[in-house]
């Protein structure tokens, strides 16, 4: 087993990416993820054959990612909310061209320039496509520094497996947090070879074309349908954590930072004789509809808590199918929810 090291979230993502074999990083500084960009500079500029570029913009960065991804290179970019908005056209191209890459979004308060404080306001953008056209990203939502590491590695593998861009959706709090982490021996993920589609030298084979368009609507429909099939398959990748789910009075659904907060709420509540369960989606796309639906039969109340006006809330409601009451508690704009606030909300509901 590897040794544990104390690392800041943003830097841990960087080290995890390198651990996963990522040798190409293109990004543009933005708080609260700039340490990741700097970390990649420090590491990749010292590795022969690797590339780090501080791009002229997030738009350029994602289009560099597109180029490297087309050659089969393990490649990533990272940013925070406004920068991720700028990348959307490029992400849509990458999805249409069926290329793998990793995009990290350490969310901050929005809309607009917003704030630099942690938020979860980009859930819709991350899980529903974000850019134009019918596509999804694979979206993983870590809630500890160790998970930033593990899910970064996993995101690269899933991106390769499905030839689709993947996103690690964190926030400023996770990025700035220091925790001990370990970089486990890499499992052989049994990934498909890139040999039969990557651009390079066409000696001994037909030239390859990466074409994210088709002006014939019937042909484009076929392509989109083929991509759509992948999203059906991706549903098998659903991952979540169930905490304290033994006959709870109420179930909280929360991801990322808010899920961490909710764990403390659960402990506090226990002291007051209230039994709170927590469903923590780890994959936001695919979303764990099924498990939430199953528990909707067993519990009188579900409370969704997010650092937003209520975005994942819509997916939880879809999952619940009206079988039980769904309430929401959120703070937005970069305000981090406290354990006591959630507990108060729970008490209000249970009264």
């Amino acid at each position: 087993m590897a040794e544990k090291v104390l690392m800041k979230g943003n830097e841990a993502i960087g080290e995890a990416a390198i651990h996963a074999g990522c040798r190409y990083y293109f990004g543009y500084p933005i708080t609260p993820q700039s340490e990741l960009t700097a970390y990649m500079a420090k590491r990749l500029l010292k590795i022969e054959g690797a590339a780090f570029i501080q791009a002229e913009s997030e738009i350029a960065a994602i289009n560099m990612v597109y180029g490297t991804a087309a050659t089969g290179g393990r490649v990533m970019t990272s940013s925070s909310s406004p920068g991720i908005s700028l990348k959307q056209e490029g992400i849509s191209y990458i999805a249409c061209a069926e290329l793998p890459c990793l995009v990290v979004n350490m969310q901050r308060g929005g809309p607009g320039l917003g704030s630099i404080q942690p938020a979860q306001q980009d859930y819709f953008q991350a899980t529903k496509g974000g850019g134009h056209g019918d596509y999804h990203l694979i979206v993983l939502a870590p809630s500890s520094v160790q998970e930033l590491v593990d899910l970064t590695i996993k995101a690269f593998d899933l991106a390769d497996k499905y030839r689709n861009p993947a996103m690690v959706l964190g926030d400023g709090l996770l990025g700035q947090m220091m925790e001990p982490v370990e970089f486990r021996e890499k499992k052989n993920a049994d990934l498909p070879s890139k040999e039969d589609w990557a651009l390079g030298s066409c000696k001994g084979r037909e030239p390859r074309k990466v074409v994210p368009f088709n002006l014939d609507p019937y042909e484009l429909e076929k392509l989109v349908a083929k991509i759509g099939k992948k999203f059906e398959k991706m549903q098998d990748e659903v991952e979540y954590e169930l905490i304290n789910m033994d006959n709870p009075d109420i179930i909280i659904v929360a991801y990322g930072t808010v899920a961490r907060v909710a764990r403390t709420t659960i402990q506090k509540a226990k002291q007051e004789g209230i039994n709170i369960g927590l469903i923590r989606p780890i994959t936001l796309y695919p979303f764990p509809y099924k498990i939430i639906n199953q528990y909707a039969d067993k519990v009188k109340h579900i409370l969704v808590s997010e650092m937003s006006l209520g975005q994942m809330l819509e997916d939880v409601k879809l999952a619940v199918e009206g079988k039980t009451k769904v309430s929401f508690y959120g703070r937005t704009g970069g305000v981090v929810i406290s354990p006591t606030e959630i507990l108060q909300e729970v008490k209000k509901i249970l009264k």
Binding site: F26, I53, A55, E56, A60, M64, Y66, G67, V75, K209
Partner: protein, 248 residues
């Protein structure tokens, strides 16, 4: 009898999608000839833009990728950095390179990316039906400058070669035209030089090709050539703006 002129092998044998008399076809052929002459077709990765030449991916018999509008230099950067042993060229229109993609071309040039850019300046947005480009001449009528480009509110046409030549890092920058055989011969030489710089592992190279869009200029191919000679060449002088091999 020997064949003294034939279709280059690097050009797929299918008809072009371009309008009659459009220079895109000549430019494609010149690039393909250069790929043949250097025998680099199999090692070349080309980047097609968004614009009339979005179909360039069909015409070059090498690996190709279609970039987002204006972002070809960034995509080329991503490819070249991952595949430094391949030859990477981008093909871009003037709307693509000098408007929406201004930042990408300036910074790719400034980083000295070892790529070759073929920049097709036809003073108009061809694909979208003839709107004003940043290179549209003063007074030129387009769909979005229906009373002629007014420099007071629309600015003056941008000379990209001159602008990029203010940077220290680019290795080769030149502007050519195709309105007569002597120009075409020079254009071919410039494109060949641009690729030579890349093959030699030197920095960024760009050739701007003054080009016609008979369809959206509302002129016959012949009139379009004449219009280019009369109006574009005086404003966009031909020649080399940067050649890092020549010691000054």
């Amino acid at each position: 009898m020997n064949k003294v002129f034939s279709r280059p092998k690097s050009l797929v044998d299918i008809p072009f999608t371009y309008c009659p008399g459009c220079h895109h076809g000549i430019i494609h052929r010149l690039i393909a000839e250069v790929l043949d002459e250097f025998n680099i077709r199999e090692d070349t990765i080309g980047i097609a833009p968004v614009g009339c030449s979005v179909f360039a991916y069909l015409f070059f018999d090498c690996d190709m990728i279609c970039a987002a509008h204006g972002r070809a230099p960034a995509t080329a950067t991503g490819i070249k950095r991952a595949k430094p042993d391949n030859i990477v060229f981008s093909y871009q229109g003037d709307g693509d390179l000098a408007s929406i993609g201004t930042a990408e071309i300036i910074h790719a040039a400034n980083r000295g990316e070892k790529i070759t850019v073929i920049f097709v300046n036809n003073a108009i947005y061809g694909m979208t039906g003839g709107q004003m480009a940043p290179t549209t001449l003063e007074g030129q009528i387009t769909q979005t400058s229906p009373y002629g480009r007014d420099s007071k509110t629309m600015g003056m046409p941008i000379r990209m070669c001159e602008l990029l030549s203010t940077l220290n890092t680019p290795s080769y920058i030149s502007r050519v035209a195709l309105t007569k055989p002597s120009y075409i011969i020079k254009a071919k030489k410039a494109i060949k030089k641009a690729f030579q710089f890349q093959i030699d592992g030197k920095g960024f190279s760009l050739v701007e090709v003054l080009s016609t869009c008979p369809t959206n200029w509302g002129l016959s191919p012949q009139e379009a050539n004449e219009w280019l000679d009369k109006n574009m060449i005086p404003y966009y002088p031909l020649g080399e703006f940067k050649n890092s091999e020549e010691v000054s």
